[in-house]
Every structure is written in structure tokens, then in C-alpha cells.
């Protein structure tokens, strides 16, 4: 029987929650958590499960991947599965990083699953099969079964169809195939053209990827006169969270006065971000919002002035479109006070 190895984060690996997100990678014989469910229908034996904390992988990707590759050295396996990672941003990046590293070193197929709203998708979809995953672990059964279905095709040597049919994100690879309808390109093109001129819907065979890049804003010419504003997605708010900013998938933001403040104090400010262990930021919010350092640099005359407000939202599970909207709502406040530049701290 063929062999498979599964990668999970600390949560699905049953080590613990955010307080264990720094968990160093470990390899266990047999199956842990979702790997047990996979093993039931996978056409391979899941011989080992690797468990690694999301922050460990996020903060030291090269070192952590190297440790895991060393654990895999000498083991026989035919496929490597990571996740499913759902809408957990760091977990998707971790799955992508380790799958890419494993594929490069051992040359075995790799399969993972992520939600479209996560950063892992655009970072890694060209490098591997990423199934279109759900936005919550409540869909574990479905996402797992989709992963196993694709993995079984790879294990059994069954031809993999277009991404759309397989439920994957397109890798951007074009294959030569014999079409079932036998229609040559010239006919298909004319069909599309006729539909287009008649205002009917049609599906292009060659979508042009949209890359949304923003022109680089010119640098501040004279720092001594510059007014700088601080924003953060680390959820730093007054302890009563007056704007009721959500701990995840935020749609709200707030701005809080720092006029005359030399820093933020624990007990007065805290983080409401649910995507990491809040202990450090609750004790000293300046580890996320460096207002003490900004104030010191202002007093030294390194730059002109600190804008009197800092701005907060929570960046975990928050969709790009909501984030863009919140930023557009914040900009008028910055313009009103003639802010010249922004420092954004993300967690």
C-alpha cells in the first residue's frame, strides 16, 4: 500500500489553541485529528502526522521547514497532505510553505485546502493543488473528503482534469487535451464572438489575471515637517472596546486619542484580536502600537509630529473588501488633519 504523511497546526493537531501557536514541529507515528478521518478513505496508509504551531512557522519559515524536512528524511511516502486550513490565515501560509518545501525536496505530489479569502491562496496556488476550502471548520467533513478525492486520483494515477472540475484554484498551467465535443478553436472563438456582440454571457478560455498594484507613493521630502499617523490591525482598543470591534472577521474600526500620551498602558488599552495569544499586548500595548517610540522620536525631532489619533481594526479573517472599505473610511480623517505618511502595524 502507498504511504501518506499529513501536516496539521497546533489546533487541529490537538496540542492547544493560541497559547500553543509557538509549538515547535513534531512528528508522530500514525494519525492525529483530521488525519484519522482522511485515513478512512485515502488509498494510502497515513504513516505519520506532523504538528507545528502556526506562529512557529510564520515567524521562522525557513528554519521550521528545514526541521520538518529533516524529520521526513528517510521516510517513505507517496503523497503529502496539509490542512484543510479553512479561513485561518497563518495556517494557510504554513500549509503552503511546507507543501512547497516537501514537493521541492522529495518530488511527491502535495495537496492542501484553503478558503479563497486567505493569503495562502495567491501565494501558493501556482505551486500546488489547493482545493477551494470552506470558511470554517464546521465544513471539515466536506473539505477533507475533497482533499481525499483529489489525493486518490494522484495516488491511482488518474488524470487530473481542469482546476474548475477538480475544485482547485487554477495553477495557471495549460494542458493540451482532446475535447469531448471535438470543436476546433476557430469555431469556439466565433461562438464567443457572436455571444459577445449580442450581449450574451460567455466564458473565456483564457482569463487574464487581474493584478491590483498601487503606484508607489512618493517619499516624504522633509521628515522634520512630516505628520505621521499610526494604524494597526492588531486590535488595540480602550479596555471597554467602545466601538465593539469584532475579534475576528472585523467590519468595524475605531480611532482613539493619543494627544499628549507617551505610550499606551496595559489595563487602559488591550487587544481584542482573537488570532494570537493576547498576553504580551495586554500587558504592554506598545508592542503592537509603538506610541512610546513614536513619541520619543518626535521629541528628538527625527520627524515633525505624531497625528493625535491612532486607528485600529482586527486583521484576522477580515476580508480584503472589508479591509479596503475600512481604509477608505479612515482616509478622510487623515486628510483632514493633513497627515503626510502612515505606519501600519499588522500582527
Amino acid at each position: 500500500m502507498k504511504k501518506a504523511i499529513v501536516y496539521l497546526n497546533q489546533f487541529f493537531g490537538q496540542i492547544g489553541g493560541e497559547e500553543k501557536a509557538g509549538f515547535e514541529p513534531e512528528i508522530r507515528e500514525g494519525q492525529v485529528g483530521p488525519a484519522m478521518q482522511m485515513a478512512k478513505t485515502l488509498h494510502a496508509e497515513v504513516t505519520h502526522t506532523i504538528i507545528c504551531g502556526d506562529n512557529c512557522m510564520g515567524s521562522n519559515p525557513e528554519e521550521t521547514c528545514a526541521k520538518i524536512l529533516a524529520m521526513l528524511d528517510g521516510l517513505e511516502f507517496d503523497i503529502f497532505l496539509a490542512g484543510p486550513a479553512f479561513q485561518a490565515g497563518r495556517y494557510t501560509v504554513a500549509c503552503g510553505l511546507i507543501c512547497k518545501a516537501v514537493k521541492e525536496k522529495f518530488g511527491v505530489p502535495v495537496v492542501t485546502s484553503m478558503n479563497v479569502e486567505t493569503p495562502g491562496v495567491n501565494m501558493f496556488r501556482k505551486d500546488m493543488y489547493i482545493l477551494k476550502g470552506a470558511n470554517s471548520a464546521a465544513k471539515m467533513r466536506k473539505d477533507l473528503s475533497n482533499m481525499v478525492t483529489l489525493a486518490n486520483k494522484l495516488l491511482d494515477g488518474v488524470a487530473i482534469g481542469p482546476a474548475e472540475e477538480e475544485g482547485c484554484f487554477p495553477r495557471g498551467i495549460r494542458h493540451q487535451v482532446w475535447r469531448k465535443d471535438g470543436k476546433p478553436a476557430s469555431e469556439r472563438m466565433i461562438d464567443m464572438l457572436l455571444k459577445k456582440v449580442n450581449g450574451l454571457p460567455f466564458v473565456t478560455e483564457m482569463p487574464i489575471p487581474k493584478i491590483d498594484r498601487v503606484p508607489i507613493a512618493p517619499a516624504i521630502k522633509d521628515l522634520k515637517k512630516a505628520k505621521i499617523a499610526l494604524l494597526n490591525t492588531g486590535g488595540i482598543v480602550p479596555v471597554d472596546n467602545p466601538d465593539r470591534i469584532q475579534s475576528a472577521s472585523a467590519t468595524r474600526w475605531g480611532r482613539y486619542s493619543i494627544e499628549g500620551a507617551d505610550g499606551l498602558e496595559g489595563g487602559v488599552f488591550k487587544t481584542v484580536h482573537a488570532g494570537f495569544d493576547p498576553a504580551a499586548a495586554d500587558a504592554d500595548p506598545d508592542v503592537i502600537t509603538p506610541i512610546d517610540a513614536l513619541r520619543a522620536l518626535e521629541k528628538e525631532g527625527f520627524y515633525g509630529a505624531l497625528h493625535n489619533w491612532f486607528y485600529t481594526t482586527v486583521g484576522t479573517g477580515t476580508t480584503e473588501s472589508e479591509a479596503a472599505r475600512m481604509a477608505r473610511e479612515i482616509v478622510p480623517y487623515l486628510k483632514e488633519d493633513c497627515v503626510d505618511a502612515v505606519i501600519m502595524v499588522s500582527t
Binding site: E18, A21, N55, G58, S59, G89, R90, V93, P119, M123, V214, P215, I216, A217, P218, A219, I220, K221, L223, A226, I228, L231, G234, G275, F276, D277, P278, A279, A280, A281, A283, D284, D286, V287, I288, P290, D292, A293, L294, L297, F302, T313, E320, A323, A324, M326, A327, R328, I330, V331, L334, K335, D340, A341, V342, I343, M344, V345, S346, T347
Partner: protein
């Protein structure tokens, strides 16, 4: 958020731990931080060291917005 702000012509520096994510999303000026839960001060180190690290990286960030760049740039700390 970084992109929407920069779109209005205000230069932004993104201080974050997952630089590859920031690059993919499209930030133009980036300064690495040390971790996700405590980007600018490791609580297991003395307060003095945390302050030095935070002061230094914040200064690099301010310098970054006063630096003209031609492409996405990660400033070294």
C-alpha cells in the same frame, strides 16, 4: 488597507511579521517585525531590550517613508 491608503497618495510603511503575505497583497514599503503576538518587543526579554528593538524598528519605518523606492522594498533592520 495599506493599498487603499497609498492609492490616495499617502506613503505607507507596513510593519509586519509575515513579509511574504504583505508582498503578495501589494505593500510597497515593508519593515519586518519579530512575531505575530508581539511585533515590537519580546516579553521574555528585558524591558530595556524591548524598548531598543521597538525604537530601532520604528525609526527604520519612518526612514522608509522618507525613502524613494522603485519597486516593492523590504527595509532591513
Amino acid at each position: 488597507m495599506v493599498k487603499e491608503i497609498e492609492r490616495t497618495g499617502i506613503p505607507v510603511v507596513h510593519m509586519c511579521n509575515l513579509i511574504p503575505v504583505s508582498k503578495t497583497v501589494g505593500a510597497n514599503r515593508m519593515v519586518p517585525t519579530i512575531s505575530i503576538p508581539y511585533p515590537l518587543g519580546d516579553p521574555s526579554t528585558p524591558k530595556e531590550d524591548q524598548w531598543k528593538l521597538r525604537y530601532h524598528r520604528t525609526k527604520v519605518a519612518i526612514q522608509a517613508i522618507a525613502t524613494d523606492v522603485q519597486e516593492q522594498t523590504v527595509f532591513s533592520v
